[in-house]
Amino acid sequence: MSHRRVVITGTGLISALGTGTEKNWQALLAGTSGISLVSRFDPKKIDTRIAGEVKDFEPEKFIDRREVRRMDLYAQYAMAAAAMAVEESGLPVGPDVPHGYTPERVGVIVGSGIGGISSLEEQHRKGLEKGFDRLSPFFIIQMIVNMAPGLISMRYNCKGPNWAPVSACATSAHAIGEAWKSIKLGETDAAIAGGAEAAITPLGLGGFSVMKALSTRNDDPAAASRPFDKDRDGFVMGEGAGMLILEEMEAAKKRGAKILAELVGYGANSDAYHVTQPAPEGEGAARCMRLALKSAGMNPEDVGYINAHGTSTPFNDANETKAIKAVFGDHARKVAVSSTKSMTGHMLGAAGGYEGVVSALALSRNILPPTINQTSPDPECDLDYVPNVAREAKVDAVMSNSFGFGGTNAVLLFKRF
């Protein structure tokens, strides 16, 4: 596409494993499950009573108390993760700071699969009780998905492209990929990109539950998310955020930024098949992985680790395995594949951002996080899933897969820098 290269210089993570990149990374390496009984509300008749709730989040540490009141939880997660990423990277914006990027050339592409659903539920309840003329004047800005990038741009004076992709569980992989494209094309020089989700609410949990998409292993929450294992019975909802700072490589080097990894490839496509089920044999997913490899000019053999979509649903994991085999051929037996959703649960629109950070960390720190809860091998899922224990391994490239309801796919490719 162009000679411009894109590097990662900052990260921010929030999940059921905790708030902060380091806290998450250590918990992932230790094989910790973040899944427990839902505590935020009483799930009552909902079949699934477990989720990966964020438990240690204190919004006032990142956001003015007054702003917190005006923001839905999903946007609070987004802002907090962006703050972590900007701090880690030292992203300079504006003429007043050394090497500051021109504000007009810094984008913010941050999405959410669902947006401000807890605000929507609260205000709908209020409307029914008190009348729809008594809604909070902040309701719409709490609910809409592009308020997260909007608020982030206001704080950091980023005047470039500002928008929110919405593509279910592929949302934040798309955000990162589109930010990469924007820098490659020369439209921007830097971007804050990723996603956030906070949909563990009665409507969110109830909605996914009636689709029979969720695990009902309520009596053993920590074992419920078990991607690729024979006894998997659905995904477990997670929440949180994953945020990255992307910069054009020459500019990042010039300012002496600490570079974590390079983002070298991105594929985006559609199954055009079914609203929730992946296309047979993982056809769309395979095509998307090939697109990402092609955009990077890389061969399957170059990839040492795949951070899988690996949701723990019977369908996804079998199909993703087939897709990996189709794309990687003999190398599929050698490449390490793991799903960190086994620990965080499925963070939906935040998953791609979270797992993008995990991919970059795996490259820069030479350790691959495991897939936990691997006890009963599934004949249909017979790759190396880095079972139960993290593994030291120096790999040169990492692929991160994200596939969403609606048949949407996004694949990112990271390279050692």
């Binding site: 007054r66 009141r69 004047p137 902040f138």
Partner: protein
């Protein structure tokens, strides 16, 4: 309800919604200039005061409420 009770309650609502200390809230404080409110905050404040004091503040009246004192006066006058 006495004026001082109304004043205390109004200050409580403002402190809660605008995230400012009650000691910063003076009768002469302008919602926008001194307390940093924007147009959405004002809508929310008016609604909260309507609910707390069971008064109706029509939009054209709300436009004239610019300071904390204006709010206290309006409620004192219109509260049944």
């Amino acid at each position: 309800m006495s004026t001082s009770v109304i004043e205390t309650k109004v200050k409580g609502i403002i402190a809660d919604q605008l995230g400012v200390g009650e000691d910063e809230i003076k009768p002469e404080s302008s919602f926008i200039e001194d307390l940093g409110a924007d147009s959405l905050d004002i809508v929310e404040l008016v609604m909260a005061m309507e609910e707390e004091f069971e008064v109706e503040i029509p939009d054209e009246e709300a436009e004239n409420i610019k300071t904390v004192g204006d709010a206290i006066n309006y409620i004192t006058t219109h509260k049944k």
